[in-house]
């Protein structure tokens, strides 16, 4: 399996090369070249490995394992040094605890354990590799013009673009490492690398806020890392194996403890309540970082780990409580998203919410739920990266990330506006991706034990979801004042990447029956011996709907002609074409339109506090359930 090695090493080489070069078009071209190569390699992996099931790869351990331990210690020292420098005692304490646990495992138990297979690839990791390889690379390409504009507009921020792209590529390599590692010690190593990348990139601007938020992120992720390290230690003490495939195969009797501990780590990484505050703070990072790390890939590593252990979690008490944490997070985060007018915060809360759905599916862990979870991961990655990048492009021209300032985007930036509409529709409307996965999720919930609770959570949560997406779409297509078209200022490359992602949103929805058949169904069948699907006739109807949606815009050709155009009704007041009307006392006023935010209903503080209380209790119950199941015995 040379291709796995290639995917692990190519981004690393790119990272080193990019770091060595100054700001220059040559470096920009190298970034693009590396992106194309990585994307191509991940597609090559799909083409060569999709029909081969799970392939385990024996890979020499000792020297690499040693190097990883060394690097782990170096990373810990790095965080330690910064923690001391910026006076963050909690981060220092957490990093010490985690490193102590890790060294205890590495020195005390690892030498006696021999992992037969360190790497593997199966259908699920192919899916993840495609998300990392294709979407991740597209975001790297987008980041080139974006960061140029960013530095031009923020002259107070030191230009650290060399470091930026270096970390971006190291991150891609680490993500490939996460999805290809069969050795859990390796998985933890790559996991920690992504934590560090996130830490560095959130602090990119080095403002006080950025530094505080980067430490918040690293603290919560280290908390999860401690859970992960504890899982390794427990395995070392009692089981003598740290191989993912063996643990998942062994089932709940053997693997429930590590599954629960790693799920705990996954909850922190995926920013589930009560840990979600770090993801909101992470929105201070440049937007490509939010798109890459904080929506489409890194936070997916958390749910990836939980979904991997779904066959172990299913039907257990800890599994039920993990699922409920996800379900409650979905409802609470969706509700908070209604109250936000900062576009990136809406996207962040929506990300938290959708990851919650994935966690709920994974905690339930039946064959249908796992199938739905992977569908959610795919569609969310595509649509959400498009939305983040769209907001990034808008922000650079409009100089605001407030949704209220996006009114009339379809006239001011027609292409970006339409692509964002596609992205938003992709998040909640039939027949596009996320709706397909929500449908699958509903069907999975209904069969689950305790499923009615999950059904209630998803029914209310998705109703709220419809509200906040539709009102945002509404502002984008409303035209309160006919502002000039400023789209020509958007770099061509940004538009190209947005176009590619918009095409992916539609394309993946069209190809979903094929994706399901080729990748998801074999994966689920391999684990459970059952096949989940939506039914042939339903798929046909979905495609019919899709065809209708794609054809309906043609009607605009007809509606364009022979219409008498008037200004909107303004209560009879004299109104100009750009919607200025005669107010009282002869003052001319401009019409303004503002969305509802329902603060009194879903106020951020109140909802967040309630969500934290409930989910914290659920996590306590999760560990209590583990003790009850005799896990620690």
């Amino acid at each position: 399996m040379d291709i796995l090695l290639f995917l692990l090493l190519a981004p690393l080489i790119a990272a080193v090369v990019v770091y060595a070069l100054p700001n220059h078009p040559v470096r920009d071209w190298l970034v693009r070249l590396a992106a194309v190569v990585i994307a191509g390699a991940s597609v090559y992996l799909l083409a060569t490995a999709f029909d081969k099931g799970t392939q385990l790869v024996a890979f020499p351990t000792e020297p690499l394992g040693l190097a990883m331990t060394g690097l782990s210690v170096l990373m810990a020292l790095f965080i330690l040094a910064l923690g001391v420098r910026y006076r963050k005692p909690i981060a220092v304490a957490l990093v010490l605890v985690q490193t102590a646990l890790l060294l205890w495992f590495e020195l005390g138990y690892a030498p006696g354990m021999h992992a037969e297979h360190n790497l593997f690839v199966d259908e699920f990791s192919i899916v993840m590799a495609l998300i990392i390889g294709v979407i991740g690379s597209a975001i790297c390409v987008y980041a080139v013009p974006y960061m140029r504009t960013f530095q031009a507009q923020h002259t107070e921020v030191p230009d650290r673009r060399r470091m930026f792209f270096f970390v971006l590529f190291v991150f891609l390599s680490a993500m490939f490492g996460i999805v290809f590692s069969n050795n859990l010690a390796w998985l933890l190593f790559f996991w920690e690398v992504t934590t560090l990348c996130s830490f560095v990139l959130i602090g990119y601007t080095k403002t006080t806020e950025a530094i505080d938020n980067s430490f918040l992120a690293v603290q919560l992720n280290l908390l999860g890392g401690i859970g992960f390290a504890a899982a390794l230690l427990w395995l070392g003490m009692t089981q003598g194996t740290i191989e993912l495939d063996k643990l998942v195969g062994a089932g709940a009797a053997v693997a429930l403890v590590p599954a629960t501990l790693i799920s705990f780590a996954g909850l922190t990484k995926s920013a589930q309540l009560p840990f979600s505050s770090w993801l909101l703070g992470a929105m201070v990072a440049p937007t490509p970082v939010s798109a890459l790390l904080h929506s489409s890939t890194m936070v997916k590593a958390g749910v990836y780990a939980i979904v991997k252990f779904a066959p172990v979690l299913t039907g257990t008490l800890p599994g039920l409580f993990v699922g409920l944490v996800g379900g409650v997070t979905f409802l609470a985060a969706s509700a908070i998203a209604v109250t936000q007018s900062n576009a990136k915060r809406v996207l962040a809360y929506s990300t938290v919410a959708n990851l919650g759905l994935v966690v709920a599916c994974a905690g339930i862990g039946t064959y249908e739920a796992v199938w739905a979870a992977i569908l959610l991961i795919i569609f969310h990655a595509v649509a959400k990266s498009l939305l983040f990048l769209g907001v990034g492009s808008v922000e650079h021209q409009v100089h605001s990330r407030d949704i209220e300032d996006m009114a009339g985007l379809v006239t001011r930036m027609p292409r970006v506006g339409v692509m964002m509409l596609i992205g938003m529709a992709g998040m909640y409307l039939a027949p596009l991706g996320m709706l397909i996965s929500k449908w699958a999720t509903l069907r999975a919930f209904i069969h689950a034990p305790g499923g009615i609770l999950f059904l209630l959570l998803i029914a209310f949560g998705s109703a709220v979801t419809v509200f906040f997406w539709a009102k945002w779409m509404g502002l984008v297509i409303a035209r309160p004042n006919r502002g000039e078209n400023i789209e020509s200022r958007v770099p061509r490359e940004e538009l190209t990447v947005l176009g590619l992602l918009a095409a992916l949103v539609v394309g993946v929805s069209l190809l979903f029956p094929w994706i399901s058949k080729v990748l998801l169904e074999p994966y689920v069948f391999g684990l459970y011996g059952k096949i989940a699907e939506l039914g042939q006739d339903n798929v046909i109807i979905m495609l019919l709907m899709m065809g209708t949606v794609l054809l309906l815009p043609l009607s605009l050709l007809y509606f364009r002609t022979g219409r008498h155009r008037l200004t909107p009704y303004m209560g009879g007041r004299p109104t100009t074409a750009d919607m200025r009307f005669a107010g009282s006392l002869g003052i001319e006023r401009e019409m303004g339109l503002h969305n509802y935010y329902l603060e009194d209903w879903f106020g951020e503080k109140r909802t967040f506090r309630a969500g934290v209380a409930v989910t914290a209790l659920l996590i306590v119950l999760m560990f209590a359930g583990l003790a009850l199941a005799g896990g620690f015995a």
Binding site: I477, M545, Y569
Partner: protein, 284 residues
Amino acid sequence: MNVLYAIVFLILAPLAGGLIAGVDRKLTARMQGRVGPPVLQPFYDVGKLLEKEHVIVALSQNYFVLAYLVFIAFSGALFFAGGDLLLVVFALTLAHVLLVLGAYSATSPYSFIGAERELIQLMAYEPMVILAAAGFYLATGSFYVNEIAAFPRPLIVLLPGIFVGLFYVLTMKLRKSPFDIATSHHAHQEIVKGVTTEFSGSTLGMVEVAHWYETVFLLGLFWLFFAWSPVIALIAVAILYLAEIFIDNATARVKWGFALRSIWLVTLVLSALNLVVLQYFGGL
């Protein structure tokens, strides 16, 4: 699934829906002590709307309204063809979002408020509709309408909570008082026409026809509770609609906050109770 039923629905539903609207107006008038228009008046109205001048405020608004009509008809057709109830619900949500987007695109302050209120309506009734689909599934073991309709026992007995909850929501779906918060058929309720303020002529006609389609679909949904006996089903559906007319005339519009809160409360309590009882004590 049966394509023939879908075609029959597409042709006959506007006729039936228009007639129902005519009877509705007649009865409403009688309840208010008026003579009322002829029963066929809704058809005359739409016919006249179609002849009006094509006036718009925004290019895209007609597109959204057309798409609204298409997907309302689509979801109804899917329902009567015996399709997957969840898919019907999703298509219906899509249709209403399209109507809302049409109102937004008009960019008038009145239609904008109407759009926001229509979205609040959508948010209010969506959970009940999804949970009703779940209830039908738990009772019959199928999401397919034709299989639910063929269920040999009276579903009303198994799903009384779902039935009452859905009836509570029906008032809003039919745009009737006290829950007609986005737009109403009655002039006295409105400052301006809410979500449809900027639609005129044939565009407004399309909104009307879509409403007829939806009325027939909604009555079909209630039919399922009584589907084991068509005679009883017909009587029950007729009584339900008469009750809606009565409620419409006996109540005044409430604030949206009350509408949302009460609908969510009813949904939560009734459907949770019903589903739990069904899953753990009865069913199948």
